[in-house]
């Protein structure tokens, strides 16, 4: 264990964990839009920045992204200094200019007292804040179907050649993980569409209810060695089947 001070309170943190985890365990609310436990920290949104210092630093202070900074013995962390708040406000103000219609951004900005951006709204703005969560989760899952395209202010997230991505299996993880709900998809129970690619959903042979996409199941069968049979019925039918099997065994026991 490592001893650190967060906002004046002495707390213990686990060796190797990032400051953000320790801060959140203390129920201190700091925003972090590009952070998700499933992927490596990235440090793009800069909202989780905090002030750090140590007694032996002679008053020298540093500002770091807490999602990326590992805890250190004796670290003194302040999550809401005037400078840190000013920085968060500026970042949210900038986000509000680049994604003026995002409800998530609007709400978060309002929490910091900003209702309208003080900057020029970016033309052709979208709700995408380029946090990179979608591409990172897609990489982590092993598909790498989408990526960042271009750079700088013109950067966007897209499939290769901006065509329906061949490597996408329609798992929707990107859409789920997107902090601003920018990634759109449709799912009518038979068919799913995301990134312009259409997927057929597997259906339970017993109930007819949809499960995952055919492509996703095929991937799990091939790369994760899940038996093909498992995907024939849905979870409800699996449970019913199990109950009936165990019921049969119990019944044999009763009869014996």
């Amino acid at each position: 264990m490592v001893n650190i001070t967060i906002n004046g309170k002495l707390v213990q943190a686990y060796e190797g964990e990032m400051l953000l985890a320790a801060i959140r365990r203390e129920n201190i609310d700091i925003p972090a839009l590009c952070h998700h436990e499933a992927v490596e920290p990235y440090g793009a949104c800069r909202l989780c920045m905090v002030e750090i210092t140590k007694n032996e630093w002679d008053g020298w202070k540093n500002h770091v992204t807490s999602c990326l900074y590992p805890v250190e013995e004796g670290l003194i962390v302040n999550t809401h200094t005037p400078t840190v708040i000013e920085l968060r406000k500026t970042i949210l103000d900038l986000f509000l200019a680049s994604s003026p219609h995002s409800t998530v951004i609007k709400k978060l900005a309002a929490e910091y007292g900003i209702t309208r951006t003080s900057y020029e709204e970016v033309p052709d703005s979208t709700d995408c804040i380029l946090c990179g969560l979608c591409t990172r989760i897609c990489d982590k899952m092993g598909f790498s179907a989408i990526s960042a395209v271009g750079r700088g202010h013109g950067k966007e997230i897209a499939p290769p050649l901006k065509e329906p991505p061949p490597d996408c299996v329609g798992c929707l993880s990107c859409a789920y993980i997107c902090p601003t709900h920018y990634i759109q998809f449709t799912d009518n129970g038979k068919e799913r569409t995301i990134w312009g690619k259409k997927f057929k959903l597997l259906r339970c042979e017993k109930t007819g209810l949809p499960t995952i996409t055919e492509e996703f199941a095929a991937y799990l069968i091939k790369h994760r060695e899940i038996p093909e049979d498992y995907f024939k019925i849905n979870d409800l039918s699996h449970r019913r089947e199990l109950a009936l099997k165990m019921g049969q065994i119990t019944q044999w026991g009763r009869e014996a």
């Binding site: 591409t135 897609c138 598909f143 790498s144 179907a145 989408i146 990526s147 960042a148 395209v149 271009g150 750079r151 499939p159 290769p160 050649l161 991505p165 061949p166 490597d167």
Partner: protein
């Protein structure tokens, strides 16, 4: 410009078959075809076992790559600091007017492409224009018609 894609595998084969060769392969392809044909990017992804999305990401991140065919003559107007204060903006505009295209575009006859570049490292001769691999220093607006003609 070559449209014979059969050379692609041999270009890729010049480099070690590992992910770190990606940029170098794309550079060689760009040199050969003047742009990155889709097929070449796919073949590269396949050979190096790198996801196509990564190839596309790299291809769009770096200035050196073009996803559309470029003209026979690539005119690069240097807009580095030294060139900027010695009037490269006017030079760029004169090329735009002369060729009737904007930077990043190619004339419909595929003869010229116009680009601006951060600095070509010939700052002492500012303003500088590069036409294909040739440098032209101390460029004056009056020389632009002539430069378009040669190069």
């Amino acid at each position: 410009m070559k449209q014979d894609f059969t050379t692609i595998p041999s270009i890729i084969a010049r480099h070690p078959r590992k992910a770190s060769s990606l940029i170098m392969i794309l550079q060689d392809i760009q040199k050969e075809f003047n742009y990155l044909p889709e097929e070449a990017m796919r073949k590269t992804a396949e050979t190096l076992e790198v996801p196509m999305s990564k190839v596309y990401s790299v291809a769009t991140f770096y200035n050196a790559f073009s996803l559309v065919p470029r003209g026979e003559k690539l005119i690069r107007v240097c807009v580095g600091t030294a060139c900027h204060i010695r009037g490269s903006k006017v030079i760029r505009e004169q090329f735009e007017n002369e060729l009737k295209i904007k930077p990043g575009e190619t004339t419909p006859d595929m003869k010229y492409s116009l680009e601006v570049v951060g600095c070509v490292g010939a700052c002492a001769m500012a303003p500088v224009v590069m036409i294909n691999d040739k440098y032209f220093g101390s460029v004056k607006t009056s020389r632009i018609k002539q430069l378009v003609g040669k190069g």
